[in-house]
């Protein structure tokens, strides 16, 4: 277990290392690579959409292919890019922030990643087998039931597999936060990123089952002759919309809350002040989660639920602006009077505040049920959700990646290139989406593959496409920065930002056991307390002793691979049923192997630990 053994690892051993890892820091890197790959795929699809809409009556993409690209852009960005990138951040820093040596269930953590990975690959194989899903990312019945070919089957089964992974990751973080906090790390001393990830995990626990049920019904309707969404046979097509949005609305809070958490870490660190209104931030997070469960029908105002239902959901939706407003003001008050350093994560945070506020404001406009009849299914809605998701979640993800990059890889991304990335992306973003508000108000419907000339839509669409190219160039600058920084491999100290929380008190990247001795937490922002009142090092809460670590395992990979193979059998049926047999045998066999084999892990001995320095950030 000495570090020198890993110095000259061949490509094969690195691959084996990552296939079998149960270390949360390596799983974070896997999530990062997987999420980044799908982010680029989704971005490419976005560029195809914008090129198609650059001029009226364009024939760049066929109508059918446009539907597929549009569906896959939404599905990929939400399920396969934003969620895994957030899981990358959670895996990388959440255990470190609470002073834990790993997550509660390292094996389940690996299983969660591989299920996501195979679900995503499954979904994207549809491009090569006769057409991707084409019923929109919301896959409303009855369109999704009658959609020809196997596209929507890839959607329902692929998301089912990926969804299992997400559910497991959520449960894992819940148990980790409840049970694995270091001595002194009370709930009200947890960093805000840990808090928001915790609450997002609660939302995952309660929201994803609705998606699971919905996808099962859709799968059975399409593949096994069920009639859940068929009114002729006593079914009801609206049930899908309800189930989808009972999951789908909490889902957007699952995405945005961790991003809020990132900004709540970045802003205090670079304003050199503790977070203003910490307890109200926690309270607001819980309130958003609570309200998030009773607003789903605001996606369905035009379905015909009746004025009473519409009014209730409209009021509940507007109420969410209150806790969100509390957060915005707390960030502003944290900045007030702080010693602000304009580092790139801070610039992302500062760009986020006005952008997200605009998105929130159009959200309140949309929440007004009567007005929504005008906005519904127009580009106004497209502009709104890109303002909150790109302006909130994506800026949050990049702020977090740049901020925690040293903790994940031990290197610091080039600040100058980060600023270039921010400005290209930020200006491009507003060029692309600000004008779409007006395109919507002028009557341009969303999801249409083209539009007619002479309706005053030409210029704004052209500008919008130009903006998309700015965003693409910005992303390429970031990728170049990553490659350049990792090639150079210049190591930095464990605390390059002079930050406040526990993860910065250990080396970068941390040793595989994270904390040599469990840290003693004396308050909120524990590292800052030690910097101000102590010697700048976290005091240990236990004497140096043996550390219990989990063994690596290929079983999570095999369980997920089995479901991936079984998916094809279920979809194509006939002679392909044999694949379902092989797949489920692999999955169940791997689970049986895991259950019957006693795996009690191993110990890192005290003597080995003593050779490796004091485990502090120096």
């Amino acid at each position: 277990m000495s570090t020198t053994a890993n110095q000259k690892a061949g490509i094969g051993s690195v691959l084996w290392d990552y296939l079998t890892t149960v270390d949360h820091k390596k799983i974070a890197i896997l999530y990062l690579i997987g999420g980044m790959f799908f982010f680029l795929v989704g971005g490419l699809q976005a560029m195809l959409i914008r090129i198609q809409l650059i001029v009226p009556e364009n024939e760049f993409l066929s109508a059918q292919f446009y539907n597929e690209v549009l569906t896959m852009h939404g599905t990929t960005m939400i399920f396969l890019a934003a969620m895994p990138l957030l899981f990358a951040l959670m895996n990388a820093v959440l255990p470190l922030q609470i002073g834990a040596r790993d997550v509660a269930f390292p094996f389940v953590n690996a299983l969660g990643f591989w299920l996501f990975f195979f679900g995503g690959i499954f979904l994207n194989i549809s491009w090569f087998t006769g057409g991707a899903p084409d019923a929109g990312w919301t896959a409303y019945a009855p369109l999704s039931v009658f959609s020809e070919g196997h596209g929507v089957d890839y959607y329902s089964i692929g998301l089912q597999i990926a969804g299992f992974g997400t559910l497991m990751a959520g449960i894992n973080f819940l148990v980790t936060v409840i049970n694995m906090r270091a001595p002194g790390m009370t709930y009200m001393r947890m960093p805000l990123f840990t808090w928001t990830s915790f609450i997002a995990s609660v939302l995952i626990l309660f929201a994803f089952p609705a998606l699971t049920v919905g996808l099962f019904l859709l799968t059975f309707d399409r593949l096994f002759g069920a009639n859940f969404f068929n009114p002729d046979m006593g079914g009801n097509a609206i049930i899908w919309e309800h189930l989808f949005w009972i999951f789908g609305h909490p889902e957007v809070y699952i995405l945005i809350l961790p991003a809020f958490g990132v900004f709540s870490e970045v802003i205090p660190a670079f304003a050199k002040k503790r977070l203003f209104g910490y307890s109200s931030m926690v309270f607001a997070t819980i309130l958003i989660a609570f309200l998030g469960f009773m607003v789903w029908a605001h996606h369905m105002f035009t379905v015909g639920l009746g004025p009473i239902a519409n009014s209730i959901f409209a009021v509940a939706t507007m109420a969410i602006a209150v806790p969100t407003g509390i957060k915005i003001f707390n960030w502003l008050f944290t900045l007030w009077g702080g010693q602000i350093r304009m580092t790139s994560p801070m610039v992302f945070a500062l760009g986020f505040i006005p952008t997200f506020t605009i998105g929130g404001m159009t959200g309140v406009m949309l929440a007004s049920a009567a007005a929504d009849f005008q906005y519904h299914d127009s580009y106004f809605v497209v502009a709104h959700f890109h303002y909150v998701i790109v302006g909130g979640v994506v800026l949050g993800i990049f702020a977090g990646l740049i901020y925690w990059w040293p903790k994940m890889f031990g290197t610091l991304l080039n600040e100058k290139l980060n600023h270039w990335f921010f400005w290209l992306f930020f200006i491009g973003f507003h060029l692309t989406f600000f004008l779409q508000h007006f395109l919507g108000l002028m009557g341009m419907p969303r999801r249409y593959w083209t539009y007619l000339e002479g309706q005053n839509l030409d210029l704004f669409n052209l500008i919008s496409t130009i903006g998309a190219f700015f965003m693409a160039v910005g992303t390429l600058v970031f990728l170049y920065n990553v490659v350049k920084t990792q090639m150079k491999g210049e190591k930095v100290s464990g605390d390059p930002w002079d930050a406040r929380t526990l993860e910065w008190s250990i080396p970068s990247p941390p040793p595989f056991y994270n904390f040599k001795q469990e840290p003693l937490v004396r308050g909120l922002d524990p590292l800052w307390i030690e910097k101000m009142q102590g010697n700048g090092k976290i005091q240990p809460a236990e004497p140096l002793g043996d550390i219990h670590m989990p063994n690596r395992s290929l079983t999570p990979f095999m369980i997920s691979l089995g479901l991936f193979i079984a998916g094809f059998g279920i979809m194509y049926q006939g002679g392909m049923w044999v694949l379902a047999g092989i797949g489920f045998a692999t999955t169940l066999g791997s689970m049986l192997y895991r259950s019957l084999k006693d795996d009690i892990g191993y110990h890192v001995h005290k003597e080995e630990l003593e050779e490796e320095g004091d485990g502090s950030n120096g």
Binding site: L205, F206, N236, I246, A297, A309
Partner: protein, 109 residues
């Protein structure tokens, strides 16, 4: 001396836990008897062919109380250190009830 105080403490502790266990046992027996009574009442109402408008709500209420007995007395949710399971169970019930309520009122009714 130290040994002596320890043994006194231990016997006190022992007494305390003995008392506690006795109390727990009493609670479990009482709830068990009540649960049997509830089941008999439910069956009795059906056998006696009392109006369905009366029987159905009564059975539902009895069922809910039985679930609470089960959780609190047999699965120890009334003891310390069960706040998180309680929070999670009630949040789950809240989300599920909200869903069912909304679907019954605006879709199925």
């Amino acid at each position: 001396m130290a040994d002596h105080t320890n043994s006194v403490e231990n016997s006190e502790k022992h007494e305390f836990y003995k008392k506690k266990h006795r109390e727990q046992m009493k609670h479990q027996v009482v709830t068990f008897v009540m649960m049997i009574a509830f089941t008999l009442i439910a069956f009795g109402l059906v056998i006696a062919e009392v109006s369905a408008m009366f029987t159905i709500p009564i059975i539902l209420v009895l069922a809910a109380v039985q679930v609470l007995f089960q959780l609190y007395y047999f699965m120890h949710m009334n003891e310390e250190g069960h706040q998180w399971p309680a929070v999670m169970i009630y949040s789950g019930i809240f989300a599920a009830v909200l869903t069912i309520l909304a679907l019954t009122t605006i879709t199925w009714w």
